[in-house]
């Protein structure tokens, strides 16, 4: 790949990653329980805010902005990041606050995901899609996004330390790579890349804090918006690029947290720690490996031009 393009991608990933790591470290530096009364700490809500701040700032630096009214689907991405952060807060509130009913917060999340779908496809809905195409596209996206978000929340709820960040980073990072190499869009790859960088920052902070014997929980508030942003970027790839089997790659990536959450449910009571960690990790990697195999079979290579 062209070194200038790598430089461009690094410029979009390293600053948000460093920013995320520093803020996560600052938030979790103060000693205190990562899990309070069986629920994730309210400090996890910072995850959603960090993602929104990192994404919106990087988008504006790389692409200029804000653009209002948005003229293209890409112009909607910062607003989509804000809605994704809102979905993260909903998931985090559910995990951190008592009294927030499960149905209420997931209905609000579903509405936010519907909003993201509409923002992503406002152009084709207005100009070219008929009702059937609109329902098929938005229905498919909403189902994948909601399933991935629920699974990401389940994977990170009440789970402290670096491992939840690894589980979330895998599909988000894979989405970023696929968008660059297979969907031929650095912009969309960078959208998922910023989300991956934020989770990477969380992972780095988690490792440092573990060494210093302090607690850290990524929590649903940090995990859900990252996964949602990656799935949305893949949806943009499916709709706005000419990638063959693009929908299949998107589906496989969205399946990663779902498969990991299912594996976690089955191995939650396993005696061995390796089984409790290894099975969800393997389940998360399997659909991603399948996506990479499909991509390799398509003959796309990151040779650039």
């Amino acid at each position: 790949m062209d070194p200038q393009i790598l430089k461009q991608l690094a410029a979009g990933a390293i600053p948000p990653g460093l920013f995320a790591a520093l803020v996560f470290l600052a938030v979790w530096w103060r000693p205190g329980p990562a899990v309070e009364a069986g629920r994730a700490s309210r400090r996890t809500l910072w995850g959603a805010l960090i993602l929104a701040a990192a994404y919106i700032t990087t988008h504006f630096i790389v692409l200029r902005g804000p653009v209002w009214p948005p003229a293209s689907a890409a112009d909607w991405l910062p607003y989509i990041a804000a809605l994704a952060a809102g979905a993260g807060v909903m998931a985090g509130v559910g995990a951190g606050f008592r009294g927030a009913r499960l149905m209420t917060r997931w209905v609000v999340t579903a509405v936010l995901i519907g909003g993201i779908g509409w923002m992503s496809a406002a152009g084709p809905i207005a100009r070219s899609w008929n009702i059937r195409e609109t329902l098929a596209h938005l229905g498919g996206f909403a189902a994948a996004a909601l399933a991935a978000s629920l699974a990401a929340a389940r994977l990170t709820d009440r789970a402290a330390g670096p491992w939840p960040a690894v589980m979330i980073m895998l599909p988000v990072m894979t989405a970023s790579q696929l968008l660059v190499v297979v969907y031929h869009s650095l912009l969309l790859g960078q959208a998922a890349g910023i989300a991956a960088a934020v989770v990477g920052g969380a992972l780095a902070a988690a490792i440092v804090l573990r060494v210093l014997k302090r607690g850290f929980t990524l929590g649903p508030a940090g995990a859900v918006p990252s996964v949602l942003l990656a799935v949305t970027a893949l949806f943009h790839g499916v709709v706005y690029t000419e990638t063959e089997y693009g929908w299949l790659l998107g589906l496989l990536v969205a399946m990663s947290p779902v498969a990991a959450a299912v594996a976690m449910a089955f191995t939650a009571r396993a005696a061995s720690g390796w089984a409790r960690l290894g099975a969800p990790l393997a389940a998360a990697v399997l659909p991603l490996a399948a996506a990479m195999a499909v991509a390799a079979g398509m003959g796309e290579a990151p040779t650039g031009y």
């Binding site: 200038q4 393009i5 430089k7 293209s72 112009d75 084709p124 969907y183 690029t241």
Partner: protein, 212 residues
């Protein structure tokens, strides 16, 4: 009387045609021929003999050239009645050809043209004035709306026309050429503008040939 009128009209037509650069009129035949073109008919763009070429700065050291392989629409430049002229062209974005299939996919992606979202580039003239005539080339100032990535901006270009001539398959052909520069960021195409990888200014040359 009728013979006299016919002779005078034929001489008059031939003189006008010669002045306009037409080939001499051949004798009429009995074979069916297409309906004669009216002076106000626009020329339909002939893709095979037309071209849209762009130039953009790469890494601040060189210029990259690319083209669009398809162009559709119609135009009319009338030096005697410039105000009646019009240019209405559409360029399908999917026909971009940068001499690299991978780069073409990238150019069609949301990073640049977002071809699936905005499948065509259009130009519609809103006003045409004649600027001058030198050596058989008539220069016009054409104002119109250029629409790219769903954003429409007024642009003014200088177009040169070589006139009108008989077509190879009958009828008439005409052509025009223009070169102008736009800022892609004006149309929301901002990717890589600030990093010096790809310039903001894009110089576009449009050369049209059309028939009627």
């Amino acid at each position: 009387m009728l013979t006299k009128l016919l002779a005078v009209s034929m001489i008059g037509t031939a003189t006008l045609a010669a002045a306009a650069g037409f080939a001499p009129i051949t004798a009429p035949t009995l074979a069916p021929s297409p309906a004669p073109a009216r002076a106000a008919d626009a020329f339909k763009v002939d893709t095979v003999h037309s071209a849209v070429v762009y130039r953009i700065k790469h890494l601040n050291v060189s210029y990259h050239y690319g083209r669009f392989d398809k162009i559709e629409g119609a135009f009319l430049l009338d030096k005697d009645n410039p105000g009646s002229g019009k240019i209405d062209i559409t360029i399908p974005v999917e026909s971009i050809n940068s001499n690299s299939p991978d780069r073409d996919k990238h150019l069609r992606s949301p990073d640049f043209f977002s071809a699936k979202e905005f499948p065509s580039i259009t130009f519609k003239s809103t006003g045409i004035t004649k600027k001058g005539e030198t050596g058989g080339v008539t220069t016009y100032e054409v104002t119109g709306d250029l629409s790219l990535r769903g954003q429409s901006k007024p642009v003014t270009v200088e177009a040169r026309s070589l006139g009108v001539a008989p077509g190879m398959r009958g009828g008439e052909v005409s052509g025009l050429e223009t070169t102008f520069t736009i800022k892609r960021s004006d149309f929301g195409m901002n990717y890589m503008v600030d990093k010096g990888m790809l310039g903001d200014e894009v110089t576009i040359t449009v050369s049209l040939e059309g028939g009627r």
